[in-house]
Symmetry: C2
Subunit: 444 residues, 2 copies
């Protein structure tokens, strides 16, 4: 794990016209993501570091890197912005970090659809897309820094999932262009259901060099905070808003007390001991939203037009996994789970069962044709056993946990080995060099 082994010297010499980073501090930084949200991953991953970072700007250079990597049998871990929250781009077996953040061209942008390189940052993309009236269908709360390639490779949901579901839902990714990790790297174009091979694949199933993505019509999104006395009323309001076909929205995020107290910058709009909803609703639909808020007895405390909101920090950056970030800024012993509750009855059951131990944070999203409550609940980490008990209690009661305390694709998902993905990987990465150790189902 030093940059001085002869293999890496030869590799670097061959690719000397491409930006290569060997400076130990920079390599260390570029070997990190946000796995430290999990105390368990923290101890498992904190010594992992690449040997060097390569930062190509063209697909032709990506092919050269892949070819050299296979030639020297060096592990290769693709990186976008490195904002993954469960070690998606930590190089378990060292090797190269293939940093694609400089491959960031929008190839074309048309109404309804765009073609981009993987390193395009999501917020930067939207800025351009909005000029023709469109925007990304969904984006994570790391929207400002995360890349589109990284979201496809390592993310799953975010703002907009209220309308368009998860990335993996058919239709949310039209085409990807992939470089394989073979002696003679090939370029594959996947379309239709085949794109599933790379979605949430952690870069184990090929290097994405181009993506064709469907867009959503861009609305001016009003950012709104509503405060509630009672948590379950706030949750019911969240469900009702999500179910209101006549009110167009993008984000419905509900936080039980004391979570609002962790949102330092929002304190003027929040009340000690109360629960809150952070919302993005079409500016055109604020009037009917107010009627709904009245029905549920909530209090509007903050309402900014899209133009006003653009001047400051978006409420998005208090939702999804950013909620965890804010809690950890207050107390680093906070950790979290990622949960599909599916129904409010289950939310209520967990709320009552865990009491003060767990602070529930809900994000509504479309799944199976319905708006369902997901969530990233917060609690102080005590022991691994207690964490396991919490997970098991949720599962025993029918919730689905996407465990963020593990680093394999399978364990962070439904625990099943995806035979198609494994077979695909066998073909395009016969030496198992792409992000090794992340796909549990794959063996050499």
């Amino acid at each position: 794990m030093t940059v001085n082994t002869s293999i890496y010297q030869e590799f670097s010499a061959e690719l000397s016209d491409i930006e290569i980073i060997t400076d130990i501090d920079r390599v260390t930084k570029l070997s990190l993501d946000y796995y430290h949200f999990s105390p368990i991953l923290q101890s498992q991953l904190n010594d992992k570091k690449a040997n060097l970072v390569v930062r190509p700007t063209t697909e032709a250079d990506v092919i050269r890197v892949a070819k050299a990597g296979v030639n020297y049998k060096i592990p290769l871990t693709v990186r976008g912005a490195g904002t993954g929250n469960y070690g998606q781009c930590i190089p378990l077996e060292a090797g190269i970090i293939l940093d694609l953040s400089k491959m960031n061209q929008i190839k074309w942008l048309k109404p309804g659809i765009a073609c981009v390189e993987p390193g395009v940052k999501m917020a930067a993309f939207d800025k351009q897309a909005r000029e023709i009236g469109w925007e990304l269908r969904m984006a994570p709360s790391t929207y400002r820094t995360a890349t589109i390639g990284g979201f496809i490779g390592g993310g799953s949901v975010g703002m907009g999932s209220m309308n368009y579901g998860q990335i993996k839902d058919r239709g949310n990714l039209h085409r990807v262009r992939l470089v394989t990790m073979e002696e003679q790297p090939q370029i594959l174009e996947l379309t239709g259901d085949d794109v599933q091979q790379v979605i949430h694949g952690y870069g184990t199933t090929g290097i994405i060099t181009e993506l064709e993505i469907p867009l959503a019509p861009a609305y001016p999104w009003q950012e709104i905070i509503v405060v509630f006395d009672d948590f379950m009323t706030a949750a019911q309001f969240g469900q009702a808003l999500s179910d209101s076909a006549g009110i167009v929205k993008k984000l419905v995020s509900i936080h039980s007390a004391p979570i609002p107290s962790y949102f330092t910058a929002l304190q003027p709009y929040l009340t000690q001991g109360k629960h809150c909803a952070l919302l993005m609703v079409s500016e055109y639909d604020v009037a009917p939203l107010k009627d709904l808020v009245t029905e549920y007895g909530g209090t509007f405390t903050y309402s900014k037009t899209a133009a006003e909101a653009a001047k400051g920090t978006s409420l998005l950056e208090f939702t999804w996994n950013h909620t965890t970030l804010h809690a950890r800024n207050i107390d680093p012993s906070f950790t979290y789970l990622q949960t599909f509750y599916f129904t409010l009855e289950r939310v209520e059951k967990m709320y009552q069962h865990f009491g003060d131990e767990i602070a529930i944070h809900l994000e509504f999203l479309k799944a199976g044709g319905k708006a369902v409550p997901g969530g990233l609940q917060l609690f102080r980490f005590t022991t691994e056993e207690r964490l396991q008990e919490i997970i098991e209690y949720h599962e025993a009661n029918g919730a689905f946990i996407a465990n963020p305390h593990v680093y394999t694709i399978e364990d962070g998902g439904d625990k099943q080995i995806d035979k198609d993905k494994v077979a695909f990987k066998q073909k395009i990465d016969p030496y198992g060099l792409l992000n090794p150790g992340k796909m549990r189902g794959f063996t050499l």
Copy 2:
């Protein structure tokens, strides 16, 4: 019921600068709607006819008509295009037809929202709105001829309801301006939940002179026919498409055999004995739709881009209640029901129970946060008793029937008297002159 009574002469003289129609043939025609789809309404309503028709072009003139109407205590029935299918604008007690089809200005049109006069035709509106990238959130299959005021006053759902639900869902109507039927007619502005007073009110709760309506982003809608061997597979496909968050659509209409054989103009694209889906899907999402069709074993037989579709008859005109129209063109003994099945299990149960007697036609729409199968099933009318049995069997099995064989608001809906609407009517129409006989809960 002749135009020669002195009251009508005086009334006409007072308003002689407004277009008044007294020609018996024209008055007869303008006293009609499509109630004849129901053999029961046919016999109940076929002798109903107004005394004369007034066709103002300004709100000021509407006020004068209302004032004169109250003065002479003449019943007044508002009319848009007269395409209602259960006698919504049949003047049960004769009097005046207030034809607002010439009050057809778009007052303003902005991204996301528009303000129109009631007589604006829906398709004509969309033509203009699309120039700025927007369109109506929902429209009936009578889209080409029906007016916006008439849709609000007498309609309920249509294409787009897949996304935005029913007209009555909070947020789908922002504001209405109303002229009351008092000695001194007033102008009321209803906003928020108060707009419910006029939605599906059959013009009994005031004369709408202006509407502010939220819009939907305009997509180019690809028109598609898919053919299936098995009806329940077609129905499941309809549900799956409706539930596919990643595929943007506007219309999902499923027809069991032999309904497709009634679509004369579409015969080249349909197969004897098979079942079909008539769809409007975003042009950008046709590729993922194809994967879904493959999954359900359907066959694409027709696919037109929005531009191509605009040259001919839209598939819309074979869906919703237009299906009934085509069936009746083949055999006028066909009649229909309007049904919320809510679940496919119930669809299947009815399909098996009624066999050949009833041909099921489903329209998917958003209700209570879910895409649910509604439908306008077809059958040959035999007796009133058998019709009643059919309705009761559906209701006993949990379906909801919006009975199109009755002419009161209540009986065509949930049969309950809406106390708010009645109280509102008492205030704004103290003499009960607006479309008398249509609101069962109202008594003088």
